[in-house]
Amino acid sequence: MVGMKIAGIIFSPIIGVITGLLLTGAARKMVARVEWRYGPPILQPVIDLIKLFFQRPPSHGKTFDYGLIASLAGSIVLVLFLPVGRLCPLSEGGGLLLITYLILIGPLGMALSGGEGANPYVSIGISRKLILSLGYEVTLLLILLSVMSEYDTISIFNVVRAQSENGWSLFSWPLVIPGLAYLLILPAILGVKPFDVASAPQEISSGPHVEYGGKYLALSKLEGGLSEFIGIALFVNLFLGGWSIPGSLHLPAGVLGVFLGVLVFLAKVAFVFSLNVTVSASFPRLRVEQAVKYLWSWPAFIGLVGLIIVSAL
């Protein structure tokens, strides 16, 4: 079991980073196909990363460097607490409550680092990002509360195990209601097109990333891919049953089972991500007050109704 744990600590951040990068590349290709273009190769983000790591940009001070590293480190720690398939190295230690705290470290480190750059676009982008997270975090907390009270646990691992026995919670009454609310706020959590107010390249010159070039941009791209992966992985774990396959099929025990579990999990992640990409390719960007208005109306209402029904039953 200890070997399993060490393997999880090593592999789950690597899986997260690679999946995040490939998903970004696939998203660029899919958006291109929606717009009837040929599009870049799927490995284009990897090419960009190689180029960016060779460049030597100027630094703007110590906080500029360490804030970015803290943000990346926060996301990596967060991945360790999420079950990636059956790889879940630290799942006993934490739970959904811990995740609600850790999910803030990424944007906070980015804000620290960008503030040192002293570009006015950075502060606009950071304030937009915080306003947007104010919009979706109420709903996210309502959803997490309903899941916790339905399964009577704060451990994600137990939630996934219960789903592998009783069926996915997205297709079970009454958890379907918070599931729908999560689907509605998922684009805002990922920061994709209708909700990319924080990093709008045409308005505020890509917001918090405006002073990043070369290595810094590479690190922040890794962080962006990782946080996209985290947003979807949380949804897949809570509502799509993590590693479990529908029906009476069961994964074998041992290393093969772990491997197959990761594959099933990544397939679900890719499916949910492609749903979001289709949304993002077809809608224009909202203004920040329109985004908050949307987030506080339907998703928050559905989340609240879900919580009431779940706790009443």
Binding site: P40, D48, K51, H209
Partner: protein, 187 residues
Amino acid sequence: MDRRQLIKWLKEPLKMSNKYSLHVVYFCTGCGIIEIPPSITARWDAERFGVKPVATPRQANLFLITGYVSLKTLKPIIRTYEQMPAPKYTVAFGSCPIDGGMYWDSYNTINHLDKYIPIDGYIAGCMPRPEAVFAGITHLWTLIDEGKADGYKKYRRNYSQYRSNQERLYGELGWPPRFETEGLENE
């Protein structure tokens, strides 16, 4: 296009990644900027070559100067060029940056852009169509392959000369600050 040849990637990753990941900052001078929207959108789709517009010079490594350069716009061009991180390439559009074009006797248009910043390639035409832009970009690939697109090294080597040319136009340039030129010549 040798983008899929793994051996080349392992041999010279710097060169290959610079070739196939050109992040572009456009400088909207003159009439050439009108050729950019069709070349990056659905009709001609520059993204299949890895060419992607970015919003700030810090993230870019290709600088397109799209048309004549007046005295007033040369100053931001110098600033933008100096903000870009090191392996960087410049391409100028049309005949005006080459020798002034139809503005060759204007009191307010500088005639030879390469006296003030190094230019790696020119795309001829008035204005070049998107096909010509792509021909220019693919030619820039061969230049990068052969190591001839070394304008940024030339700028470093002859920095004092470029700077004195710039200051003959503007007097004392307050910003960008002078580089430390010692020790940079050998890189």
